[in-house]
Amino acid sequence: MDNIAGQKSSLTWAVHISVVVLVVLWLLPTVGLLVSSFRSADQIATTGWWKSLFPQEQNLVIRTERPDAQEFIDGVYVLEGNLFELGDAADGVVSVWGTSSREIDAYSAGETADLGDKGLLTIQANGDYRFENQSEFSGSRGQRVFMTAVSPPSFSLDNYRNVLFSNSSSSSMGKAFINTLTVSIPATIIPILIAAFAAYALAWMDFPGRALLVAFVVGLLVVPLQLALIPLLKLHLGVGIGKGYLGVWLAHTGFGLPLAIYLLRNYMVGLPKDIIENARVDGATEFQIFVKIILPLSFPALASFAIFQFLWTWNDLLVALVFLIDSSGDTTVMTRQIIELLGSKGGNWEILATAAFISITVPLIVFFAMQKYLVRGLLAGSVK
């Protein structure tokens, strides 16, 4: 009774565990990047992203307002305000505080510290402070306060604002994002168009040398593209295309075609012959068969190749560096931009995380939007 179809295999649990492991392996870094990209540099420096949903204890150093903001009320000079606002920090709850770096936990919240001739400083748990003195405050800077505060989780879009829209050329991911799209979309569509036609011919049209052509295409699959970089670039420069979008589209098309033709041909060969013959008897020309029957039925294959090609061109650095990016920097793609960020802002994790997440959003969207075509069996029910 163990092998009856429809019964659960005893290995089901192994499958489930593998799935869970894979999902966790994939989710951990992705979610980590996503969460980090919404956090400030301070938050990233003090705690890991997995703690970001919980309140966290931070040590802050904030100065009170400068003496020129003092007021004279009821015979005493007073400085009042909220330290969190002054320090531009997220609201929190002060537990202990001090005025010297050696004793940052000298007082608890609500206590009043007697700072001698500097005056009396009171700090409430919510960060409100009152600094009063019989004599006038002097000097140019406010009193330093070291506090230990528990802040609630806070997220902001500041990083995205910085990375996408700042005008400094070194961190303008916005422009690189557009450039990458400009490379990827045509570099996905052009090879699919060409490959679909070629695959149909190689699968269903009789002509001499067809088998040799298929073998040739399969052979091209194993040729490393690095071999072609320099000759191709020379050719591009020679015929006047030069470095630019057209060049990189052509290069991606050429490098993507063998796989595209191979995948699509194999899929199309598997389509039922009867359907195509029936269309022929129905009076369809080869082109009509291709457009009205083959293309719709090949949609899963087209979609899966589109996903492959899009991801590869999106993440590509090598081909873009060779065929696209020139000294002007106007055509920088995101992969290149991230490398520059690593160099110039290697310590700014919030910037790097944000840039990285921007560069993976589109692949994620593409994958989730198209994944059903990878698994859908469009042919169900056509032939018995």
Binding site: P272, D274, I275, E277, N278, A279, R280, V281, D282, G283, A284, Q288, K292, I293, P296, L297, L378, L379, A380, G381, S382, V383, K384
Partner: protein
């Protein structure tokens, strides 16, 4: 005038010749069935008519037109495939209307024709469904609908019922027959099932090894087969064949004797037959009757009791299989020696080259 005529048609794949010169005339409104064992070339012949296979040699005329090199879509034919070959991404209405759309009919005409075809086949309620949502019989109807909407000169059916279960097959067979009467269409139908051939056909073409063995009406083929192949192929269960020797010649009759057959006189055309010739005697199982004094001897191997009839699987002394169908229920002991009699008029003598020696 013939709706479709084939003359001396041949088809070779390289050195292998699969259709070896076929001649055939199909009249308007005729239901012609190609029948034969697997690999006999019947499907190839149909596909040549459809234009899906090139014609190596010979002429194919549909109506008046020489169609050897005409595109399948322009031949005035419609074909129903064994697998139905519905377009899986289109709903039923689009499937039926695909040809019309390609031929550039305006949408309203198209709609009208689709409705009409759907009505004939009673599939109006299925027009919005995808093929994957249909049952086998419904898919079959859609496939036929796709053919009739084109109003072709000739319908081609390639084993259209072989994917259906037995009950549905009988039902669809009757519907096809009714459809043929209703449309008055010319139909060429390929099958390996000789019951389908017998019940549907006006004219049966028996093919074997790429050669036409006989063309004729079902009853003609059953009663007066040209040769031993046709005799064995048409009729169920299969005709019994016995090796016999000619012992005497009479006027329009031959007296023969075999190892398990006592001398009998069989009506036959005696031209070319001499005493001592080896011949084959064919007797249909239905014509054998249980008779303790009969001339045919055998031993019962197995008796299949079907209620209305009993099929006796026997062996003769020289191990020739012998089938007899009794139109009543009767029980027999395994291994029992039995004897059968038969009406000599219903038996056929075949010469050594396989040709039948029927009296004129």
């Amino acid at each position: 005038m013939a709706e479709l005529s084939i003359s001396k048609i041949r088809k070779s794949y390289g050195d292998l010749e699969v259709i070896k010169g076929v001649d055939l005339e199909v009249e308007k409104g005729e239901f012609v069935v190609f029948v034969g064992p697997s690999g006999c070339g019947k499907s190839t012949l149909l596909r040549m008519i459809a234009g899906l296979e090139d014609i190596t040699e010979g002429e194919l005329r549909i109506g008046d037109e020489l169609c050897n090199n005409v595109h399948p879509g322009d031949r005035g034919i419609a074909m129903v495939f064994q697998s139905y070959a519905l377009y899986p991404h289109m709903n039923v209405a689009d499937n039926i209307g695909f040809n019309l759309k390609i031929s550039g009919y305006p949408a309203d005409v198209r709609q009208e024709k689709i409705q009409k075809a759907a009505q004939v086949l009673q599939i109006q309620h299925l027009l919005d469904r995808k093929p994957s949502q249909l049952s086998g019989g419904q898919r079959q109807r859609v496939a036929i609908g796709r053919a009739i909407v084109r109003e072709p000169q000739v319908f081609l059916f390639d084993e259209p019922l072989s994917n259906l279960d037995a009950a549905l097959r009988v039902e669809m067979r009757m519907e096809l027959s009714a459809l043929h009467r209703k449309l008055g269409a010319t139909i060429i139908y390929v099958t390996h099932d000789q019951i389908e051939a017998m019940t549907l056909a006006d004219k049966i073409v028996v093919l074997d090894g790429g050669v036409v063995q006989q063309v004729g009406s079902p009853i003609e083929l059953y009663q007066r087969p040209n040769n031993i192949f046709v005799a064995g192929f048409i009729g169920s269960p299969k005709m019994n064949f016995f090796e016999v020797d000619v012992i005497a010649l009479h006027d329009n009759a031959v007296e023969v004797k075999g190892t398990s057959i006592e001398p009998v006189k069989v009506p036959a055309d005696t031209t070319g037959i001499v005493v001592g010739d080896k011949m084959t005697l064919g007797i249909r199982p239905q014509n054998l009757d249980f008779d303790p004094n009969g001339p045919v001897h055998g031993t019962i191997e197995m008796a299949e009791r079907l209620g209305s009839e009993t099929i006796l699987n026997c062996k003769t002394a020289d191990n020739t299989p012998l089938l007899a169908v009794l139109d009543r229920d009767e029980s027999f002991a395994h291994g029992a020696a039995v004897r059968f009699s038969f009406a000599p008029v219903h038996s056929i003598l075949f010469a050594a080259d396989g040709s039948s020696k029927l009296t004129a």
